[in-house]
Amino acid sequence: MNTSGGVVLRSTAVAVGLLFLSPLLYGIWISFQTANRFFSGNGEMTLQNYVDAVEKMNFLRYLFNSLIVSGGVTILSLATSIMAAYAFSRFEFRGRDLIFGLVVATLMIPGHITLIPNYLNFARVGLLDTYAGLILPAVANGFATFFLRQYFRGIPRSLDEAAWMDGANAWKVLYRVIIPMSKPAIYAMGLFIFLGEWNSYVWPLIATDSPDMLTLQIGLARLYKMDAQEGLVNWPLVMAAATLTMLPVLLGFALVERHLVRGISMGAIK
């Protein structure tokens, strides 16, 4: 392709991409406007909406909660999936295929069926409105287990065997050989889990109530819904809250887009 063709192609691509993302970009732009500028068209740009979201609307706390919950889910999901994937990929044991089948089948189970019973069970043991209550139902991750098992299978067994010869046990082989060899896959999967949990809505909606336990998603939904019911939404403030809610995805996206896309395609082909 000649250069002028390349330029045309590139500017068309930029135009199409910007147009497609314009609702998002426009929303972020609004978040820097004063209410006065937003409604009357003149006035200044400001960071006050972010200050208000954090100071008056408790969004710093929500941000903290989302970090704890998504971080907790990511670490525990990875830990349980890595152990299970290692056992599934390296050991013969009675019931292995059945157990593996049960883990992977959770991928196909629509989440809504567990909502009412999980709510009841967590209420019974007093875990509603706690971090544990938000984290636990999301820990088991069939996709991560499946994906990591496939990856571990690709690691040559001769490496494990060398470690076994040196007197290592199964846990040491996992820790010293398998995990170091799988770092890229584990990072990619961790990221995938983190973003998924960050955006999670239904369970946190049901499992939280007190203002100090809400995640960003629930805090944002409440802020908007309360305003909307009263019929007057402070759009710049709501957009600042929305921007905070999208922040990790927006920041991390450029960095990890390729991993994500590859993960998605693999999910489809699996």
């Binding site: 991409g17 929303g27 152990m83 299970a84 044991f93 292995r96 989440g111 809505y201 390729r258």
Partner: protein, 289 residues
């Protein structure tokens, strides 16, 4: 000796989690669907199929089934048609094309709540961009989200905008798997673009289309968040999807039995679709490799 138990110790945590938070709750849902309960009272009398029969005799249930079906029947074909039309231009691996794919994909990994809030603003009656654009054409303000005949369309637009990038990425993978020489052959035959698309591209991405069709139908039946934030099922129940009704029945009206019955019905339907998906995926393999 210890080694024999090691693999069990390693799978134990995840097994406990799936039993406690997935499989056991499924059984509890079935059980609760045969009972009357309000979360509070100490007894949960067994009432047989009465929750189900109440459900299928209520207008509320058929309304949510109908709305969910209409939503699915419009948004799935719309998504797939747009996705394949766009994916055709995004199969090369240059920096520009990859960036554009990324732009399309961004909403798919962005918070549904944030997206719902942003689009609520765009379609808001007084402050929204949609009405500002119409105003330029001399058209009066439209209360999009307050009009029963329009609100569902807004939900469809927002959901399509969010999910399109996922469909595109999957189609791109499918298109990239088509051998280049088939296009060459079609060109040699003097094939026009549309002709090539219809005779070569479309049949060869059929497995991808089947896959996306079923995945997006399954997903559409579970739509909740966008609706919950933008309309809560209104106005006049015109956007009341099945999961929104489930949430309301279980967690606002505290009718545990009826909520569970609704959950069970949707569950059975979706599991059937999922089994169908696995069958088709099995067939798909030889196209891919």
């Amino acid at each position: 000796m210890l080694v024999r138990f090691t693999p069990y110790a390693m799978v134990l945590p995840i097994v406990l989690c799936i039993l406690a938070f997935t499989y056991w709750p499924i059984l509890v849902s079935f059980d609760l669907s045969f009972r009357h309960w309000d979360f509070m009272s100490s007894d949960k009398p067994f009432v047989g199929l009465s929750n189900y029969s109440e459900l299928v005799r209520s207008d509320e249930f058929w309304n949510s089934v109908t709305i969910t079906l209409i939503f699915t029947a419009i948004s799935v074909p719309l998504r797939l048609a747009l996705a394949i039309a766009i994916a055709r231009y995004l199969t090369t691996e240059s920096k520009t094309v990859r960036a554009l794919r990324g732009a399309f994909f961004l909403p798919a990994v962005t918070s549904s709540v944030a997206i719902a809030v942003i689009w609520s603003w765009i379609f808001s009656t007084d402050a929204g961009v949609a009405n500002a654009l119409l105003n330029n054409l001399g058209i009066a303000k439209v209360p999009w989200l307050q009009t029963p005949s329009l609100a569902l369309w807004v939900i469809i637009i927002v959901n399509t905008w969010k999910q399109l990038g996922y469909d595109i990425v999957i189609y791109v993978a499918g298109l990239q798997a088509i051998p280049e020489d088939l296009y060459e052959a079609a060109k040699m035959d003097g094939g026009k673009r549309w002709h090539t698309f219809r005779r070569v591209t479309f049949p060869l991405v059929m497995p991808t289309t089947y896959f996306l069709l079923i995945v997006s139908v399954i997903e559409s039946f579970q739509i909740f968040t966008i609706v919950d934030v933008m309309t809560q099922g209104g106005p006049a129940m015109s956007t009341d999807m099945m999961v929104n009704m489930l949430y309301r029945t279980g967690f606002t009206l505290f009718d545990v039995g009826k909520g569970s019955a609704l959950a069970v019905l949707l569950f059975v339907f979706l599991v059937v679709l999922t089994v169908l998906k696995s069958r088709i995926l099995g067939k798909r393999v030889h196209y891919e490799h």
